[in-house]
Amino acid sequence: MRLEKCWFCSSTVYPGHGIQFVRNDAKIFRFCRSKCHKNFKMKRNPRKVKWTKAYRRLHGKDMTQDSTFEFERKRNRPERYDRNIAENTLKAIKKIAKIRSDRSSDHIKNRLKTGKIQRQKEARKQLEQDIHLVKAPLALAQDSSLRLPKIKVNVSQTQTEENQQMEE
């Protein structure tokens, strides 16, 4: 039994699922479900289809380089069955999967961090400027908890005199 990867979306194909298409040049395409198979028949490039792993890796949305991927490399040499090795491998698989998922979610979180900071900055600015849409300015002036702390700016006396002269 071997768990294959879908050619289109790179998800695992478990036994009993999917279709295997053999082209005349002896290249085998495995598909996990008919969605991927139909997209293939439409000759879509998986690197351009947004929901596939190929697109996500290509555009940096998902983690590409990591040491946890080394464990999943294909080995064509069958190993002699040893109960201890099998047991340890099963435990290791679970642990490696957990580590990999943690690392990939960190990668995504880091990627989204700059956007989050930007959104918070914009929100703060909007709160400052457009609060009059929510509460009347009179009520705002009386209730100090709804305002951001005021910053005092010192204006020199000579400048105001110049402005008065210009207005006249």
Partner: protein, 166 residues
């Protein structure tokens, strides 16, 4: 119409067979029609039955062969079955000539066939290897991939001649 639909639903690595490859004018009702007006509707790949033209992938001399009878199966032959066929097109100097009635083993079928592990395989075209009555191949070489369903059907000789086993 059959040809235009075949070209619309073409896939990567399309087969050399043109319109007559897909049997839409079948005599039996087992042949399935192309569904609907959808541009991306798939062709229903069906059995190999009377009048199906298959490609010959050995060096026996024949090029195209038309199925006369599927030896097993009421609806038609599938991957790995033997058929009786008539040679429609042949190389000028070969072991078989045009018009001869031969037996053949289907080595590639566009219709998917279920494997014992639950998955399904399908190939790009319909192809056949000519054999004699005992099941020994007439030619000495086989081109293209062949499925390992042939091992169960005891066509071991064809498997040994093949370059690639799917």
């Amino acid at each position: 119409m059959a040809a235009s639909f075949a070209s619309k639903c073409s896939r990567v690595g399309r087969s050399l067979l043109g319109g007559p490859g897909n049997n839409l004018s079948g005599l039996q009702s087992a042949s399935n029609e192309v569904v609907g007006n959808n541009v991306w509707s798939q062709q229903q790949r069906t059995f190999i039955q009377m009048r199906t033209v298959l490609k010959v992938v050995d060096n026996s001399g024949a090029k195209k062969v038309m199925c006369i009878q599927a030896l097993k199966g009421k609806k038609g032959a599938r991957l790995g079955d033997t058929i009786v066929a008539s040679v429609k097109e042949a190389m000028p100097n070969g072991k078989v000539k045009k018009g001869k009635v031969v037996y053949g083993v289907v080595v590639r079928a566009a219709m998917q066939r279920g494997r014992c592990d639950g998955s399904e395989v399908k190939f790009d075209d319909n192809a056949v290897v000519l054999v004699d009555k005992q099941g020994q191949p007439i030619g000495t070489r086989v081109f293209g991939p062949v499925p390992h369903e042939l091992r169960k059907k005891k066509h071991v000789k064809i498997l040994t001649l093949a370059k690639h086993i799917a």
